[in-house]
């Protein structure tokens, strides 16, 4: 059971959409439901010891899980497809913007910022295609971004924050370092963000 669950998790993780415990029970654990938490724990240990990945519950109420990489950051080239890399680039830029602006931004503010980078919600992008879909649907479903509607706005507006996957896969300190590197400044230049990043560790 354990190895079946491990395989199941690895394949399910391909799309980076959080995995529901219900799906695990239905597809793998099935009749062993009573031992489910033990099987899950063992699977988690296998993932850590064999693959260096951590199984993390990101929603205690809905019992959804993600896999993150628990190995020390590789020094050399990170092996993944170009398409994936480009998306990560866009994501990091968005996460940086959100953090530096106080952890929550309105959609209009975000798109106005992305315009400066030649990324437009209404225009198909040479690299990303339908960017609006990528940001709102894909990044949202993967839990990199948390997108919530602002009440009583007409037309409806949304606020963007970091999602639980972003919280686990990166950190405010890392993101601040990225911003600092891009701008050629010391991270302490932004005193309050720096303070928050340090406290967050």
């Amino acid at each position: 059971q354990v190895s079946e669950l491990v395989q199941f998790l690895l394949v399910k993780d391909q799309k980076k959409i959080p995995i529901k415990r219900a799906d695990m029970l239905k597809n793998v654990i099935r009749e062993y439901k009573d031992a489910s938490s033990e099987i899950l724990n063992k699977a988690g240990r296998t993932l850590q010891e064999v693959f260096g990945m951590q199984l993390v519950e990101i929603d205690a109420k809905r019992h959804t899980y993600i896999l993150i990489n628990n190995l020390p950051r590789p020094e050399g080239e990170y092996l993944c497809k170009d398409k994936e890399k480009e998306k990560m680039g866009l994501l990091l830029v968005i996460l940086s913007f959100i953090f530096m602006k106080g952890n929550s931004v309105k959609d209009s503010a975000l798109w106005e910022f992305l315009r400066l980078l030649r990324v437009y919600p209404g225009k198909p992008h040479r690299v990303f295609g339908d960017v609006r879909k990528l940001v709102t649907e894909e990044f949202g479903r993967q839990k990199y971004l948390e997108i919530t509607p602002i009440p009583l706005t007409d037309p409806p507006e949304f606020k963007y924050q970091w999602g639980p996957r972003a919280e686990k896969e990166t950190s405010k300190k890392d993101v601040l370092n990225f911003v600092a590197k891009m701008q050629g400044k010391d991270p302490r230049f932004w005193a309050s963000q720096h303070g928050e990043a340090e406290a967050n560790l």
Binding site: D13, E77, Y78, K85, L91, L92, K101, L116, L152, M182
Partner: protein, 263 residues
């Protein structure tokens, strides 16, 4: 309505509106009006929150426009050339290279602890030739699991491309050998000169591997010259093919070469 003007930090519109609402509420006697008043309060508080956050009271001022410029620089923007776009009114000129987002993406991967996406048999070496066909089949059977439902299309592609890669390499080596012979038909090449790559032991082994295919298929043959060193030459094309293959002794030779010898 007029959300933007109310948001303007210099305006007192919000306060004025709240005061007016307060006054009006005094005259309210019906539930419907009270509900409207409540709705107004919700909107007012949201606006209030926004105003507060716009004061950046919690965060040190962050210049997003400068950040965007720095990102464009990092992506390798060429500011001397002006791009012909239809929306270039407020976007500063400059030509973004096609790998702009690749560059950012490459940097970005360092900041995430993303679990690599799991694929069966996704080789991580890009240019090295793959393992021989038999091993591919065996590995494929071993790794086939329940979850393989999603994988078959991808697996097929992998297998084909690996086969092709080997064949291509073998062909390439044959062509090199033949070209050399066209230029100088009477001097067979020393086998070692042919296969050894002075910079890479791994490459040397691969070359030997590919050369062995040529020999197996009868496209080249190895002889021993006067100095007892092996030499390799292409076999003459098919006219005498049958004769050659029946005459050609099927010998098995084990050539051992370790790193020390290679050096």
């Amino acid at each position: 309505e007029n959300r933007e003007s109310v948001l303007n930090s210099k305006s007192n519109r919000l306060t004025e509106a709240l005061e007016e609402a307060n006054k009006l509420f005094g005259g309210v006697s019906r539930a419907r009006e009270a509900a409207l008043d409540a709705q107004f309060l919700v909107i007012a508080t949201n606006i209030g929150k926004e105003k507060a956050s716009e004061l950046h009271s919690e965060m040190s001022a962050f210049d997003s426009a400068a950040f965007a410029e720095d990102l464009l620089t990092f992506m390798g923007i060429n500011r001397t050339e002006v791009e012909e776009t239809d929306d270039s009114e407020d976007v500063p000129g400059g030509f973004l290279p096609t790998d702009a987002w690749q560059t950012v993406g490459e940097e970005a991967t360092k900041y995430f602890r993303r679990a690599p996406t799991f694929h069966y048999m996704m080789g991580s070496f890009k240019s090295e030739p793959p393992v021989p066909k038999q091993r591919i089949e065996r590995q494929k059977k071993a790794s086939r699991g329940k979850a393989e439902q999603a994988m078959p299309a991808q697996l097929k592609r992998m297998e084909e491309s690996q086969q092709e890669a080997t064949e291509k390499e073998v062909e390439r080596i044959l062509r090199i050998l033949q070209t050399h012979f066209e230029n100088d038909p009477n001097t067979p090449i020393s086998f070692f000169d042919f296969v050894i790559d002075p910079n890479s032991f791994a490459r040397t082994v691969e070359n030997m591997f590919h050369a062995s295919f040529l020999i197996r298929d009868g496209l080249a043959k190895i002889k021993v010259d006067e100095d007892e060193l092996p030499i390799i030459e292409p076999t003459k094309p098919s006219g005498r093919g049958e004769e050659e293959s029946s005459a050609g002794a099927r010998n098995q030779v084990v050539l051992s070469l370790d790193q020390k010898e290679w050096k």
